[in-house]
Symmetry: D2
Subunit: 220 residues, 4 copies
């Protein structure tokens, strides 16, 4: 009889034991680094998960460092991502790979970009981590493709779209999503102030826009 | 009586004296330099002027030098253009101003580009020369604006359009004309081979296309 | 008798008429622009001319604009230099021609640098203006030639030395003078703070150093 | 008795068993890639090891790929170096990290250069591999530090010297060794043709020079 009670108790404990939440890590550059600030998109996602009582199902964290390019992510994925034991990693990178060409002469060749991106995905997938990747949104929000780096951002976005297909990754195509948003909401062809503060880094509207898209994509 | 005959003779001589043809000089970079070759657009224009018996009305000449940027034109307009006594000058420049940024680190800042362009136009207009200016066609013919320099070419084309308005110059908007041509004739998004050999320099089709547009614009 | 008095009066007036001072214009970039500030080398030269009672012999003025490269000087020499009716022009330029390669992708090719420099000198010499030219001092004061742009600055200085010879210009070789000064006065291989505030723009010591050299060279 | 013979035989076999040679892998860019060609320095080292009957003590191999920068080495050290089971790795990289800044806008920031270099050394040392590192020789052999990239090469060489100290690596300082060689053997300040074909890639004399230095350093 005692044994039975003990046994039943174990069963009950097990059934009440809270399920381990799915851990999602956002891995990227300054856009992701700022996303954990009070109005940032990771914070907004956390608040919404709580409000919708999904915070026991999903746990989200940021691993963004300003100025990072794809090979910087490759260098630090073990220390900064694997140590967080994620079930899913969202990689959002590419702006600096293009931008630093002009700024410092230290951008990333398009072929090396693909090589490091693919290597990073494979390392994560080898740990059974689901990988979602994103195209870079913008360096300048003008809608007639007259932002200095538009040619390169379109080109690297094409590369990322190919990488997603080749590696069975989900894709969040911010390049297209933000361009379309600007076509509707930026009638005077402004360089910033629509979804970004400076053409690159998200303002409040941008953080809300991005949070909504990620929420819909990741927690459906 | 003698005086009258002399006078009448002078009148007749004057009326038979062939009218001086309008002299048009194309002033630019390698695209214009190659235009005087057998299949080049200047040669094609000359042939058509002859075929349509307008070669006594118009005389065309090239003054293109490979690698030239706007400030190179400013340096040599006296030696290479004014010495040809043109009635009209067609300036087509801009590709190297953008391209050399990436290639050699020696492109032209957008504000300096406008400054030199305006100064050159004013120097020519001060000599009663009519000035026509052109936007750069392409560095890469892909139609989704994913050619590396598309952002810059669109930006510098906007600047040239403004300069045309501010200085009452006719504008030949090759950036738009060639993009539209490619949208119809480049369905597989090729980087070259449509109007150009290498994304920049005109092939036979390109020379014909450009010759037709210039002919229609300049000799209507 | 009256005539004699008048004649004598004219003679006297002529002999007392002050001699027109030699006008020297410094033509360059931000280094020259800042030189007219209270502690700048042009101001120091003016003060010394006054103190040594040579200010009726020499008049000095600045024509520096920040960010200028050799071709910017060529664009504005008529408006900013010829209008000052100088007897002598001191050209000091080159830092931005090299620096802007890395900073903005808009430096000056070495061959174009020589071409514009020579054209500018010839335009000035054609107006009987004596031309003195200078090598760029530094972008970074480290003495082991490990400042990022040392290779280029040495190369462009070689070009300027050749231009001086080819055009019979006096040369003030600040590249060598400042390097030698640093070898003696910068034992810990600092990047700035010896003759400059930031590796490029002169501090008080630098302005004094440059003023002394120019004074000795120009007003001997 | 039989047992004794067997035992003696085993002892003898053991004592005759050839010692496993020390495996040295040269890891780098095109300079190392070309080194395995007939006149390359790795081939020369192999020939000398054989001639001096040390080829059973040392085995050398190349792992160079043209265009590689430090982060490319980091990406491929597992596949291309660890798979060769080396006892010692000689890293020679840096030219492209500097050169590609100007050429393609895709060089390596100096701080990232240090970060990846240190990370690579630590990964190799963690496998008990002895690591020797080298400074880049030259991009241009002119001796007055007027080669375009001299400033950067001197700077990155300083970084490599610090990395060697911090990580207890042997250093082969080709930057100094080749400069000193040129000071003696390049009296007319030529840009190439002394130790290199093109300022960068070793000619026969350069391969011999480098082979001698490595031989002396590694197999003393």
């Amino acid at each position: 009889m005692k044994k039975f009670i003990l046994f039943a108790g174990i069963i009950m404990l097990c059934s009440f034991q809270p399920k381990k939440p799915t851990k999602v890590v956002f891995f990227g550059d300054s856009i992701t680094e700022y996303a954990v600030q009070p109005a940032g998109f990771i914070t907004l996602i956390q608040q919404r998960l709580k409000a919708e009582h999904k915070d026991s199902d999903y746990e989200v964290a940021g691993a963004g460092i300003g100025g990072n390019k794809i090979y910087d992510l490759y260098l630090r994925y073990e220390d900064d991502v694997l140590t967080k034991n994620p079930d899913q990693v969202v990689i959002w990178v590419g702006v600096n790979d293009v931008w630093h060409k002009r700024m410092f002469g230290t951008g990333t060749d398009w072929d090396k970009f693909g090589k490091f991106y693919t290597a990073l995905i494979k390392k994560l997938q080898a740990k059974n981590i689901k990988v979602t990747i994103c195209t870079p949104a913008s360096v300048g929000e003008k809608t007639d493709y007259s932002n200095e780096l538009d040619g390169e951002l379109n080109r690297y976005s094409n590369i990322i779209r190919d990488i997603a297909k080749q590696n069975n990754c989900d894709l969040v195509d911010f390049r297209t999503l933000c361009h379309d948003y600007n076509l509707k909401n930026n009638p005077t062809n402004k360089a910033d102030g629509i979804l970004t503060k400076d053409g690159v880094h998200l303002n409040d509207q941008g953080n809300q826009f991005v949070a909504d898209i990620f929420y819909k994509t990741l927690f459906k």
